[in-house]
């Protein structure tokens, strides 16, 4: 009895240590291999992409990312700089894509005359992009690819 509980404690400590080690290894990679009391040099701030080319969306409902800078663009109760180009009536002059019809819908899918209040603050859903390496690998597979693979004979 005594010996077995002693073994259990040893095993538990071992598991904890192993877990702790793998945890700290991950932390170390995120901290550039520096210990907790040292401050890693911050990487240079990447620039916002401003190439004006639309990016492929990962799935149909994805809010497209913004292909241009939005520095200083005011979106407040007073003014909405985005809509000064993307609203239906402004697209002739700005040649920007119009906000899609979902932006006019309230939560009962009623299409309103103007952009719905829940779609007013564009940056809730749309973001600019920077050319950076992802810190964590992503194994997302595009649904088109998945379909094509499943159709192919096994």
């Amino acid at each position: 009895m005594r010996i077995s509980s002693f073994c259990a404690v040893i095993a538990a400590v071992g598991v904890l240590l192993a877990g702790g080690a793998s945890l700290s290894e991950e932390l170390i990679t995120l901290r550039n291999g520096l210990s907790i009391d040292q401050e890693a040099a911050a990487p240079p701030l990447p620039k916002v992409e401003n190439h004006d080319k639309r990016r492929v969306r990962n799935f149909a409902e994805q809010p497209p990312t913004i292909p241009h800078t939005i520095r200083g663009y005011e979106v407040t109760r007073n003014a909405n700089k985005c809509l000064s180009c993307h609203s239906r009536i402004q697209t002739g002059e700005s040649q920007a894509p119009m906000v899609s019809v979902t932006h006019f819908m309230d939560r009962d899918n009623q299409v309103l005359a103007t952009v719905s209040p829940r779609r007013y603050f564009c940056n809730q859903c749309h973001v600019v992009q920077e050319d950076v390496k992802p810190l964590v690998n992503n194994d997302f597979v595009d649904v088109e690819l998945m379909l094509r693979n499943s159709e192919a004979p096994q």
Partner: protein, 203 residues
Amino acid sequence: MMGLIRKAWGLVVWIWSTASRPARHLSIGFLALGGFFAGVMFWGGFNTALEATNTEAFCISCHEMENNVFQELKTTVHYSNRSGVRASCPDCHVPHDWTDKIARKMQASKEVWGTLFGTIDTREKFLANRRKLAGHEWERLKANNSLECRNCHSPEGMDITVQSVRASTAHQTYLFTGEKTCIDCHKGIAHELPDMTGVPGWQ
């Protein structure tokens, strides 16, 4: 009371009769020269005062400007950018041509009046008046074809090949053709905007 008024009137009459009497002991040359130097001093003083009131420090010495517009300017590209060229208040708000400058100063005196009598002495009052104040600036820049912007940015100097596609298309279509001027498209580049309902191109 009546005595006081009569005394004051007497003083006025005396000053006028002295000032309007021809000078008996001074040569015409002295008078002309004196007048000339007085003129120079006045002119110089006037221009010095004009220059002194033409600095950012002067503009934000009144707290309405320091607390509202200046704080907002600090976050924009015209206050901090990669080339370190800064636009200060008079760069955008005071015309560089002398007659225009005087005209703007006389207009600005009205705004000093506003400070003295508290038309915009709180954030709330300032915001309530903001649409009107911004409107004055838009009208002025529209009327002078965005002269102040052009003191630093010239369309001729723009290399559209290094501009973004959005910028170069807009500039080629509307700016170079003279159809629109800077302020038509670039409102709110230095400060937060007022309620834009009813402003063409917004909402």
